[in-house]
């Protein structure tokens, strides 16, 4: 059985945010909502200073706290490891946001337009007003995967910092990278067993 997963090469990431924007355009998220974010960390003292970039999105945990805690069963784990969600079941309890240790779940409150004065034709197609009061997050672009494509963020990453593949296949590129580069999971101690690995 496949278990989809992602590796993020922190040596290759330059913090350009192409992945964040690809995600936004793919998922049509309203202002203020990013299913994928790139966090910046500045360390050191002048003149020895470094910038690090850490992309964050849903970790597609094996034991997802969101699914465990949601009172209305919005979140569910597929057999291929993707944590999906069903907005129609969401009543806005926001427990998922408190439960997720990765701050990877967004809650769509009042939807504003990007330009003052009303929604643009794209936003009308996105129809985010119908998602008001519900949670949303990365689903590994499940529709793209179904077509044999990679998630939008992986496809566009200019430096090829992102890889996507089957964690259960020891010969897959992601498995090999995790092994050879000492890939690690965020907050591994929490026992959620994320499917996203960071390559230091």
């Amino acid at each position: 059985m496949i278990r989809w997963g992602m590796t993020i090469d922190l040596k290759r990431c330059i913090g350009c945010q192409s992945c964040s924007m690809a995600c936004k355009m793919k998922n049509g998220t309203p202002p203020g909502i990013f299913y994928r974010k790139v966090m910046e960390k500045v360390t050191g003292k002048y003149p020895t200073v470094r910038r690090s970039y850490i992309p964050i999105s849903c970790m597609h945990c094996s034991d997802p706290p969101c699914a465990r805690n949601c009172p209305t069963g919005v979140f569910y784990k597929r057999e291929d490891g993707i944590v999906m969600y069903d907005s129609s079941k969401c009543y806005g309890a926001k427990v998922c946001r408190m439960a997720c240790p990765y701050d990877a779940i967004s809650f769509i409150d009042k939807v504003e337009s990007y330009y003052p004065g009303g929604f643009t034709p794209i936003e009308k197609i996105w129809d985010n007003q119908s998602r008001e009061g519900t949670a949303g997050k990365c689903d590994f672009c499940a529709d793209r995967i179904a077509e044999g494509l990679k998630p939008s963020c992986v496809k566009t990453c200019p430096t090829d910092a992102l890889k996507f593949g089957d964690l259960n296949d020891v010969n897959s590129e992601v498995s090999r990278l995790i092994l050879t580069r000492d890939g690690y999971q965020l907050h591994a101690d929490l026992g959620t067993n994320p499917s996203v690995y960071y390559l230091p």
Partner: protein, 846 residues
Amino acid sequence: MNTQDDVKQIKSVCYMCQGNDSGIIGYVKDNVLLRVEGDPESPPCYGKICVKSQSSPFVPINPNRVLKPMIRTNPEKGVGIDPKWKEISWEEAYDIIIPKIKKIREENPLKMVINTFDYPSLHFAGPLMLGFGAQFYFGGATWCGWYHNPCYQYHLSFFREADYERCNYLLLWGTQSGHIIDALPVSSAKKLADARERGCKVVVIDPICTPCAGRADEWVPIKPGTDGMLGLCFINLLINDYGLYDKEFIKTKTNGPYLVGADELYIRDQETNKPLVWDEDKNEAVHFDQASGNLALTGKFTVNGQECHPSFELIRNHVKKYTVEKTAEITTIPAETIRRIVKEYGEAARIGSTIVIDGQELPYRPATLLTGKGTANHRRSMHTIFAIEMINVLIGGVNVPGGVLGIGTSYKKRWSVTADEDGINLSPNSTYWHFGAFDSYPARPVNRPSTYNLFELTPCNSFSDNFFPIALSDPRKFGLDYDIEFMVTSHTNPMSGYISPFLMGELLKKIKFILGFATEKNEGTEMCDLVLPNAHWTERYDPMANMPFKFQTVGESDWYWFFRRPLIKPPDPSIKHWVEIMLEIVERAGCTPDVLNWSNILWSLKPENAFDPEKKYTFMEMNDAYIKDRHGIGIDYYEKSGTQVFREKKSIDEAYPGPFVPGRYNIYMEYWKRAGEDLRRVIKEMGLEKEWDTDDYKPLLDWEPGPSFNPVNDYDLHVVNYKAACHTFTHTMVNPLTLEIGHTYPWLYGAMIHPAMAKKKGIKDGDPIWIESEYGYRTKGNASLTEGIHPDCIGVMGLGGRLTHGEPVGRGVGPHWNSLFGQDLSKMDKMNSSLDSAIRVKIYKV
């Protein structure tokens, strides 16, 4: 990928920045561009696109688009003043424009100026300009243009790129190349990431710890305005301390062996006038092109009764005064750091090594120094930028594997490098460049200026457009006996992108009539008298999207020629590509034969593809002829296949032209000396000796402190700017998506300041502050405390602080860099019109 039947997929080329770097697929439903993705089949990015490109669908649907011709009804002009636009018909617009152009054509066509930065249309700029008889103002050149001067000479092209595939040591000096910034923003990012993975060391010299510097192996902060000092010290250490320079290359591929007399000029053969060199095998002076390989680089000789030295000897001795100790004090970089970096770079170059590629043995110099606009905007810009670029030449690292490569230097089908009578390489620029930018070698004869960019007074320079506002403020001073009466402006924002908009606004008011092409209402549009709507790039054809002078990856890639096609229809059917409208204006003004004649000349069209000046051609027909003439294919090639790219195999001598160029590179600037003498004559005739210093026209490079090296009264800090991946050009500051992403960087729209300096000034993180420059202009921002900035500097993003009322999105986000600058000839490099950016500011709480 959306597979719905009603979603069309259209291949095109991104134009969110000047790079034109990414082949894209647009997904379109009911004339709405849903999103763009990279086209995996298209070089050079093969499916990768950047953050700006992803956001592009939100630009054409901007509700503030200009949809109809608009005429201003408020005669008062200025920053923030509402033009009170009134919509008029296209016929009414033409009725206003055409009589004005006809009158100017009869009186003096130079009263008209075309101002644009629209790269994919620049092949039309020359024919339009010369067809009207107008002059050209290269919009957007305030801070960007000057490193092209050494590029023309050392990389024999307008742009350059690192050979990332083979480089092992990359010194990025005042540029963020490889970080979604610079000439090939996306394709270079992957190449640099690959290079780093295989162990390429990256060192960044910059006053600010940019994302590029923060990811590098080493960030070396430098005091602004001192790069020239470091460059000359670098040369001194390479030659005199470490002996890490390519002697054979200097002997055979530079003018280093040319003999120079006491007058600082070449010793020439009295009969042939050819420069002489000292042949150590023959033990005599011979023509540079008749010598054995064994030429003297040092020593004292007597030729033609004159005592003389090889020019390299003069360089070697001259740079000794740029000691590492003094340089450390000036630049604030520790002496041991300077020494180590110079040594690392010189050793990484593997001088003398070769590599076999496709069966050919080529020089191999896997050390690269890339510089850009960060180092070039100084009072002594030309000396600084040549000193830095010359470092690549000293190691023999120009146009060879591992080194710095010119973009499109040699496309043998149409152009290649030649050499002049002095044996110096001539860039093939003039055969593919179609507007007012010229090679920086050889020097042009000096004449009194005829146009407002005073180009005639910069004989060793590519373009001099920063002099345009100087001349506009007082044209008679420069002997210009006419006023600019008509300006056409497109794809540039002279109010936001040049100098203080308050000053620029006063200057632009002197132009009687400004015709603007606009997609949205920006600060520049607000100064126009008449605005015509312009198609967004997602709505237009650009059949020659990546003009060949740039936007071609270097090294062993294929040639790729891009074709931009519309993804969507414009919001109003009358909206067209501005060049199409200009061709209509040309026709109505009776200028078509002149424009076609100039197209034939500037595009070097073969007779079978040339235009008949008595006929009328459409925009697409003209492009079709040009593409056929250049590449042997027409627009049909793209339209029938649906592709956006035509590829051709690149040969090794096109990929690495260095070993194959016929001439030598200038490292001793003898022609500056000669040009200076010519210039001084004209400057004296014009009575400009006090304002127009000519001291920099000397053959050996120097650095001196700029006018603001020390604090100016209580203006105690320097101000420096930076770029970010999500912003290129002012239009990205009115795009709500790029702005939203920009806000995720906590420092991007702030005023960067070191905590120690902030404490000294009593400023806390987030405090609103004024930044006031020595020019007396000021801009506002919120203090952003960071360890990643030179403590003597304030950091400001180059594009922030929009002022326009026509675009509510982005207004007032961050400080506005250009608002800090006035114009002052004493702070400009007269060799190239560079304005010194190393000015002083003071800061105080709002």
